[in-house]
Symmetry: C2
Subunit: 205 residues, 2 copies
DNA sequence: GCAAGCTATTGTCCATGTGTCAATAGGGTT
DNA sequence: AACCCTATTGACACATGGACAATAGCTTGC
């Protein structure tokens, strides 16, 4: 005989938030498969079935968490002064470093969490995040409206994005690079990519 | 009453290979969690338990597959002519592109398969592969014996490795970059990284 | 204040998947 | 041909995820 379970009835939105918060925490500190729905439910003080009810399933819940962390906040490329490209890029990089430094663990697990394996949904989120990031960079470089070789340009910037992530990881987890190192590297690399490599690729075709 | 199962008794090594081959195929075309041990066993004409017997478990089997695909073949940086760095790097990049083009699907799923989530073992393999790749690049650039700022150098090259993977993916799956584009981009980027960015980072400290 | 209805929440049932292990049988050896 | 070694099997235990009908908390109308 356990004491009668007392239920808390909440607004769906709020309940959703609570579960999401717990999920964020747990997925933040452990792997996808190492976290069970049961655990999330328990930690959230809720029946297991309810998690399914709100999110459809474990995967979808997880994806929701990842999405929220991965989409780069627009603030990174907002209100940039109208000065040189160097300056604008530099500021942009700085703001980026701020963001990942602040939400360190969460960000790390989110990207390290290209995890799960690639199904359509995961892929979709990753792609979406990459596109958003690419937009920000091009915006900072005032190259948003390039049309000749736009496809190639964006592809190269997306690839650069991967280097950016990897370098950030080197900084945050290994400590092999200092924040200053990162700033130099990331700024110079993207400038070189946009001003030298891109034209060279264009000229090649 | 099914006809009595006829067993095939093989040398452990050979059986291991057979199972591994099947696993390679299946993991190549589908996600980790979308492939069951049962399926692998069936496809290999073997009892499920045997897979566990040989590889310990699903994860270990998977890791074995990934390891074999991820460790960059030494051939990429072997027998490079003693000419300019540009030339050597160029050849190296070309060979690399050959490798991934050949084993396309497999390579894609292996890296997209930073999958599973990061446990110690997976991480280990990924790190190992990155180190090997880094060695090759430094060897091609004849910078293997740099000592001042070695840590930072290697970290930057590892980050570059991520861009290389991402760019390769852009080529193979999106087709947003041609092989020629890739060659230009990858060659120039790494040269810039080694000759301009690295010194700049050094100077900064 | 009370009853009734809406729906948030629960607990249970079922399916699938993995790991383990004792029992079985293939194939070489004496 | 009898025997032994071990590759191989099949069944069992256990964990986890998804589905769904039953239940109970809030709110609304009178």
């Amino acid at each position: 005989m356990q004491p009668p379970v007392q239920r808390r009835r909440l607004e769906p939105d709020q309940r959703r938030s609570e579960i999401l918060a717990v999920a964020r925490t747990l997925f933040g500190e452990r792997t996808y498969s190492a976290v069970s729905v049961a655990e999330i439910a328990q930690e959230a003080g809720v029946a297991r079935g309810l998690v399914n009810h709100y999110f459809g399933g474990k995967r979808q819940l997880y994806l929701e968490v990842v999405r929220r962390m991965l989409i780069v906040p627009a603030s990174v490329a907002e209100n940039l002064p109208r000065t040189t490209i160097e300056e604008r890029i530099s500021i942009c990089v700085d703001r980026w470093l701020d963001v990942v430094e602040r939400d360190k663990e969460l960000w790390l697990s989110a990207i390290g969490a290209e995890a799960i394996g690639q199904d359509r949904d995961t892929e979709q989120i990753l792609l979406e995040a990459d596109e958003v990031a690419t937009d920000h960079i091009l915006q900072a470089a005032m190259m948003s409206d390039v049309v000749e070789g736009r496809t190639e340009l964006r592809a190269m910037v997306r690839a650069y994005g991967s280097m950016l992530k990897a370098a950030s990881r080197e900084w945050l987890v290994r400590g092999a690079l200092s924040r200053a190192d990162l700033h130099v590297m990331l700024t110079r690399s993207v400038l070189h990519l946009l001003r030298d490599v891109f034209p060279a690729v264009r000229a090649d075709s």
